[in-house]
Symmetry: C2
Subunit: 156 residues, 2 copies
């Protein structure tokens, strides 16, 4: 694997490799990697940060809202995209961690914007160990953890 994850998956994997990975994942679940789905991935990859549905449709106005939601849902189920519920009006979507690297979020409670941040790997390790101990103890099967900082962004 490569080292420190960077904002925007485009820098880590060429788009071609990215699409190829995703195509395989979809195929495993009997889904096609159609033009609309490819387009969703490219928009999110280009943005390099979580986007709302209006953001996404704004980036490609000829994309139908229902198709966007439907395809995002499929991509989420296939582990390609992650959905973040910030509590604002819209959910946010970003490329999943296997593609984007493990990271966390700054969530602005005023404007609802979300930005990616990265923690020191030592701390990540400690947190991970701590959480898996708790999971063991309670019979919980972990998938992922989220660590978000809520507050006011520099502009608000």
């Amino acid at each position: 694997m490569t080292g420190q994850p960077l904002p925007g998956a485009i820098d880590r994997n060429s788009l071609i490799e990215l699409h190829s990975q995703i195509s395989n994942r979809l195929a495993q679940q009997d889904h096609r990697y159609t033009k609309g789905r490819k387009q969703l991935v490219e928009i999110l990859a280009r943005a390099g940060q979580p986007m709302t549905l209006p953001d996404i449709v704004g980036a490609d106005p000829k994309m139908a809202r229902s198709s966007a939601y439907r395809n995002l849902d499929i991509l989420v189920r296939c582990g390609v995209i992650r959905r973040i519920n910030s509590g604002g009006d819209y959910s946010h979507f970003e490329l999943a961690e296997p593609l984007l690297g493990h990271h966390h979020h700054l969530i602005c409670v005023s404007c609802g914007n979300i930005e990616d941040i990265h923690l020191d790997s030592d701390i990540e390790h400690l947190v991970g160990k701590s959480l898996s101990e708790i999971a063991d103890r309670t019979g919980f099967t972990p998938i992922q953890h989220s660590l978000d900082l809520h507050g006011h962004c520099a502009r608000c």
Copy 2:
């Protein structure tokens, strides 16, 4: 301050003291601590874990949904209750951290249930330091952080 927070605020503060604290907070913002609001707090305190609106109204069927939402909103604004958007159909509500103590969540992606967990204080300290460094660097003003473990609970 008292030591390690316990599940269920009833164990830490007698209900009377709890109500008194909350009453003051509400008064500061020119709100009354009415019967309905008191009832909300008692239901959440008794549960000792995050509840959805149906849970809450189920615990007191004569409570009107709209009043419940309205009062929860006011209590959230006054820092008495915290709202958690897990991504399921309903939001969850629990007593805020000043009353319940700092803690985190196990979120079941199957059944949507949320359970409180507590982390080792050393780790909390490291995470807190790390996050405030990031906040400083980016001009972000932190209010709180959330650290949730997503996965499947023992029953699912």
